[in-house]
């Protein structure tokens, strides 16, 4: 499979701070590529350079082997983390306006059908709910029938149902053959949507592969999760090296039977015990030492 976008030795500095430091990767055409990282890791700066919004201080970005230019502008769909629209303008009018920017554009009625915009098509854009606005922004990003779609934290601030709906819509875009580049704070989202992920920290890529391959490479153990109230903190930390997160104690183990025996030995109730495989959240924590939503 050929790569649609190649990023090579990308550098961006803000004064003395190097926000993006020699970042390189390629995105395979038709795939979904996830860029993950804690706040300030440099992922938004990286994606904005790839979108052509910010100019890099070093390195190259090539779209289909060429520097970003007219073809890229016509074929890229972009959904920013936050976007303001012109005031006093309806959803239909903003869609019409954006459709005129491109040589080829999708039908507004088709997009309205697909992203359930009909109910507020003639409504002022300032009066949309969070979920409605995200659907509109996604439809706007797709108005030019893009070959590559950039989504910068598209589901931040959405309720679980709206988030799940947006995932379905992104899956549809993928099924139609478009390439998707996604940044997200939600590991579940990255796992659900992405074929490949790159984890960034301090402006560098510290891990890059398919999600399952990354998990397999870093973990051969599981997590025994117990309600924090059921296991005293001193016993948990001393005897099991448990990590307390939110309301749970997380015990990483390669031998579940032995761990359960020891928990019973300390009279720890197991009614609320859960065993789960290691996930991207664990991987992220292990690699960056930071909670993703911190």
């Amino acid at each position: 499979m050929s790569s649609i976008l190649q990023v090579s030795s990308l550098v961006k500095r803000f004064g003395s701070l190097t926000a993006v430091d020699q970042v390189s990767f390629e995105i395979v055409e038709g795939s979904c590529f996830g860029l993950l990282g804690p706040n300030g890791a440099g992922k938004t700066t990286t994606i904005e350079m790839m979108e052509g919004i910010k100019q890099p201080d070093g390195g190259t970005i090539r779209y289909r082997g060429e520097p970003l230019g007219e073809q890229f502008r016509n074929e890229a769909g972009i959904m920013f983390q936050t976007t303001a629209l012109q005031e006093f303008i309806t959803v239909r009018e903003v869609m019409t306006q954006f459709s005129r920017f491109y040589p080829h554009s999708a039908s507004i009625d088709d997009l309205a059908d697909r992203y359930a915009l009909h109910e507020f098509l003639d409504q002022d854009t300032r009066k949309l709910s969070g979920g409605q606005k995200q659907r509109l922004l996604l439809a706007m990003a797709l108005i030019n029938q893009p070959k590559i779609l950039f989504l910068d934290e598209p589901t931040t601030g959405l309720d679980p149902q709206s988030r799940r709906n947006l995932w379905d819509q992104v899956q549809q875009v993928k099924e139609q053959g478009a390439t998707v580049l996604l940044t997200t704070h939600y590991m579940e989202e990255a796992y659900e949507l992405c074929d490949e992920i790159a984890i960034m920290d301090h402006g560098r890529i510290i891990a890059h592969d398919a999600p399952d391959a990354l998990l397999a490479a870093h973990f051969d153990d599981v997590v025994v999760q117990i309600h924090a109230a059921d296991i005293p903190r001193d016993i948990g930390e001393r005897e099991f090296q448990a990590l307390y997160r939110n309301d749970s104690a997380h015990i990483v183990t390669g031998d579940v039977n032995r761990t359960i025996e020891r928990l019973l030995h300390f009279n720890i109730p197991l009614n609320r015990l859960r065993i789960r495989a290691r996930d991207l959240e664990d991987l992220f924590l292990e690699l960056t030492g930071k909670e993703l939503r911190a």
């Binding site: 919004i53 920013f80 629209l85 012109q86 005031e87 006093f88 303008i89 009018e93 005129r100 920017f101």
Partner: protein
């Protein structure tokens, strides 16, 4: 440049403006309020009741020195009499006096001219040289006739600078420009759409004001409406381009407000909108020539009051046109989407 994209932006901006009822109403009401307030305020003459033009000689006779010492008369020095006779005709000055030849010109319909003449004759009562009186005639130019072209120019200035500058800064601050930068729209296309959108709005709004004020004040219009339209259109483009340059990089409304005020207030007072700069310090007069509003006001006055044609105002049009192109080029060069 793709005109379909310019058209899309043009339409979007127009919809936004027309639906913003408060902004639209303010754009229409403000200049009418200004006209009414200032017409009322300036219906009384200023403390210097009289204006006398003087063509000075190398040595002033005692009588001339005595006349020049008269209080409450503003004396304005001219090099020659002939080019300034129309100022007597139009009541812009009450009397013109050539000291070396002791000749003076007054308008026989001017009450002020009659009084100033008496003062001049009194000053020369014991002098050896006889005064020579010449009568001129002409239509009176009322203050409202004189001030209207400048007020329309000033309204264009506010609408252009703040209408364009504020909008772009707001678009930048809230990320509207960032979203547009992610499309094939170029800076020149975006700026062109802003110019066109603001231009027709300014022309329509000011045409309405012009007609409304004409019904109320029946002011003087001796020239061609096409020429006047050309002056206001070119002046609008020029001032819009000034606004574009100011807004090319700023992302804070507070900073934009300060910079736009820094541009607009000197223009309001030094472009000869409210009072003639005749007799002002030469440096101030030279500075005024740098201000686009000076050229808009002078060209519009020349058309409306004197009925001048395009040739007579060609210098103003050329200056406005060339500086518009330079400002647009600079604005597009330094423009930032973010």
């Amino acid at each position: 440049m793709k005109w379909s994209r310019v058209y899309a932006l043009f339409v979007g901006r127009n919809i936004e403006f027309m639906r913003d009822r408060s902004a639209l109403a303010w754009n229409l009401l403000l200049p009418i309020l200004i006209i009414v307030v200032f017409a009322y305020a300036f219906s009384e003459e200023n403390p210097e009741k009289f204006k006398v033009g003087l063509i000075l000689a190398d040595e002033l006779p005692d009588a001339a020195v005595q006349f020049r010492a008269t209080r409450y008369i503003k004396f304005i020095e001219f090099a020659e009499a002939q080019p300034n006779l129309h100022k007597v005709e139009r009541h812009q000055i009450d009397l013109l006096f050539d000291v070396s030849s002791s000749r003076y010109w007054i308008n026989r319909t001017s009450a002020n001219g009659y009084i100033v003449e008496k003062l001049l004759i009194a000053a020369y009562a014991g002098a050896q040289k006889d005064l020579q009186k010449t009568l001129v005639e002409g239509d009176e130019v009322r203050y409202i006739d004189w001030v209207i072209p400048g007020v329309i120019g000033m309204n264009i200035m506010w609408g252009a600078l703040f209408g364009i500058g504020y909008v772009i800064v707001r678009y930048r601050k809230f990320g509207v420009l960032k979203r547009l930068s992610a499309t094939p729209v170029t800076a020149m296309e975006f700026l062109s759409a802003q110019i066109l959108s603001r231009l027709w709005l300014l022309l329509i709004v000011n045409a309405v004001i012009y007609i409304g004020m004409d019904i109320i004040f029946d002011f003087r219009m001796h020239g061609s409406y096409f020429n006047l339209f050309l002056v206001f259109a070119l002046g609008s483009v020029n001032l819009i381009c000034c606004g574009l340059v100011v807004a090319a990089r700023i992302s804070s409304e507070e900073v934009a407000n300060g910079v736009l005020n820094m541009f607009s207030w000197p223009m309001m007072f030094l472009s000869g909108v409210w009072f003639s700069l005749e007799g002002a310090h030469p440096l101030m007069q030279k500075f005024a020539l740098l201000l686009p509003l000076t050229h808009i006001t002078e060209a519009a006055r020349a058309i409306m009051i004197d009925g001048d044609g395009l040739i007579a105002i060609a210098d103003h049009l050329l200056l406005l046109g060339v500086s518009s192109l330079i400002l647009l080029w600079v604005g597009a060069r330094i423009f930032r989407w973010e």
